[in-house]
């Protein structure tokens, strides 16, 4: 039981290093889509929100907080991915024939 926090911290550290490696060289053109695409991923908190809202525990307040979290996280996820896609659809290369 006491080891769980350590394992979680282990995952955290590795993921941070992975993140730095993944994004160290991104062309300036993609800075905004990268930011909004990453922001959509931070909407992963929706998983926690669903668990809180659907737990059906005795506390009505927990359900209320969870549901509010589901709302905001869904705005973040849906809006974030769609707006990133919309932006990326605008980027064109000169040689492209697409309209």
């Amino acid at each position: 039981m006491e080891l769980i926090p350590v394992y979680l911290a282990f995952i955290l550290i590795l993921a941070i290093f992975l993140g730095f490696e993944l994004i160290s060289k991104v062309p300036a053109t993609l800075h905004t889509p990268l930011m909004s695409g990453a922001n959509a991923i931070s909407g992963i908190t929706i998983v926690g929100a669903l668990l809180a809202a659907g737990a059906g525990g005795p506390s009505g307040l927990a359900t209320l907080l969870g549901s509010a979290a589901v709302f905001f996280a869904t705005v973040n996820v849906v809006g974030g991915y769609l707006v990133t896609d919309r932006m990326l659809g605008l980027f064109k290369k000169k040689t492209d024939d697409a309209p």
């Binding site: 993921a15 160290s24 800075h31 959509a40 991923i41 659907g54 973040n76 707006v83």
Partner: protein, 457 residues
């Protein structure tokens, strides 16, 4: 679905996020990368809904439907010029969601354990703190970008002392909370209030042109908040995804700071507005009218446009593209020099020009265009100021000294499109305007460019 299957599916989702982020790093694969990442999100959501932990779907359905509707409408309807505001609001909604998740975790979301453990208390505190700061900080950033409140730096005497006291109070509250974790106590609400207040206080001293740093930093925080919430509810996928986003945001923040030759602490704690100009530039400005500017452009064989926030304000990106195409048809080589902090968020100018159908391979970064600048016949500066200020290079007394700039003054001729002679955001006089090869084209950027276009016709 068993916990084992759920966690295996989370691994798949995490891998999809990782590849998605990687593909976002190249223009050719970015769109499919985003789609891949959204697929990972869908998997994570579906398996969570199928897990044993969820027994009641009523409220989830209502909240998710409302959220999806708001998110979809917002993403469709927002104008590309308003993208910084939109990103700020999405950051804020991520922050508040993580805050609420952690709050709910205090109420036996993991039943069976007697009370709240110290570990949970600490992680809930961190989620509330980071989530609260992200939420209110993003709202202030939005208000500044949308000019609901003054976009300049708001500084007052004792600001740092107050902010330090706020942070200190928050940490003290966190320690007390870890010792005596209670979900419904005055202490808890005090922490909540302090976190939200800290977010407001942290962003108000940061002014308009520093917004790219703040937006990317808040982006990082929104990931860290999800990560902290993951610790609070012992959930791997939140920790992995949240820290990926946190790292991405930090890297972007760092790029923005380097582009201004300032440290993060300097951006966060000292309003640019407070800086007094040391060197006063004197000289004559040489205005030019559209007819004469047309003659020079007509004869030019290499033209570089240097856009800034003024182009976004004037919504001039479409006419700029039109002028660029006319020049190309005239046998001229056209490029667009983009400074990393031009505009109000990272990549702001790139998005606007993409919207106007400018191919991204015509966009060049300042490091690439500067060596070629002496061969550029005309550099057209559109609503940019500090990022083309030669004082950053030549005048070591200047507050922006050391900031890498686009060396437009090295071009044969410089046109500066400007409303008036007001100085830029940094409040620094710009010697560029008094240069011997500089011509000022006064007026609204969109109207000026349109006038040039009609000269060509």
């Amino acid at each position: 679905m068993s916990a084992l299957l759920v966690n295996l599916a989370y691994i798949v989702a995490a891998v999809m996020f990782i590849f998605g982020l990687r593909m976002l790093g190249s223009p050719a694969t970015a769109r499919s990368g985003n789609a891949l990442s959204s697929g990972g999100m869908l998997i994570a959501i579906v398996v969570t809904l199928l897990s044993k932990g969820i027994v009641e779907f009523h409220w989830i359905a209502v909240a998710a439907a409302a959220g999806a509707l708001v998110g979809a409408l917002a993403s469709r309807l927002v104008a590309m010029t308003a993208m910084p505001e939109m990103v700020a609001l999405f950051n804020g909604s991520g922050g508040i969601a993580s805050l609420l998740v952690a709050w709910a975790a205090l109420f036996g979301a993991s039943p069976g354990v007697g009370g709240v453990t110290t570990f949970t208390a600490v992680t809930v505190f961190l989620s509330i703190m980071i989530g609260g700061v992200t939420f209110s900080g993003s709202l202030v950033a939005w208000a500044k970008l949308a000019e609901v409140m003054p976009s300049g730096a708001i500084v007052f005497v004792g600001q740092r002392v107050i902010n330090a006291a706020l942070l200190g109070g928050l940490v003290l509250g966190g320690v007390l909370f870890a010792l005596l974790p209670a979900p419904d106590s005055p202490l808890f609400y005090a922490i909540l209030g302090l976190a939200v207040l800290l977010g407001v206080m942290a962003v108000i001293p940061i002014g308009g042109a520093d917004m790219p740093v703040v937006i990317s930093l808040l982006n990082s925080y929104s990931g860290l908040a999800a990560c902290a919430a993951g610790f609070a509810i012992n959930n791997n996928i939140l920790i992995v995804s949240g820290s990926l986003v946190g790292a991405a945001g930090i890297i972007l923040t760092n790029i923005m700071c380097k582009a201004m030759n300032r440290s993060l602490t300097n951006v966060l704690f000292s309003g640019f507005g407070a800086v007094k100009t040391v060197t006063k530039v004197e000289g004559d400005v040489k205005p030019i009218v559209a007819e004469d500017a047309y003659l020079i452009l007509e004869a030019a064989s290499a033209v570089t446009f240097v856009p800034g926030y003024g182009m976004a304000v004037a919504q001039a990106q479409h006419v700029v593209r039109e002028l660029g195409e006319i020049l190309e048809a005239n046998g001229c080589e056209v490029s667009y020099a983009i400074h990393p902090v031009a505009g109000r968020m990272p990549g702001h100018m790139n998005v606007l020009l993409a919207e106007a159908n400018v191919p991204y391979d015509q966009l060049v970064e300042s490091d690439d265009i500067n060596p070629r600048m002496p061969n550029v016949d005309v550099a057209v500066v559109i609503g940019a100021n500090d990022v083309v200020n030669p004082a950053a290079r030549d005048d070591d007394a200047s507050p922006i000294y050391g900031m890498p700039i686009v060396n437009v003054d090295h071009a044969r001729t410089v046109f500066v499109l400007k409303r008036s002679m007001a100085s830029g955001f940094a409040g620094v006089d710009n010697p560029l305007f008094f240069g011997t090869n500089t011509r000022m084209l006064f007026g609204d950027a969109k109207a000026s460019i349109s006038a040039l276009i009609s000269e060509f016709k």
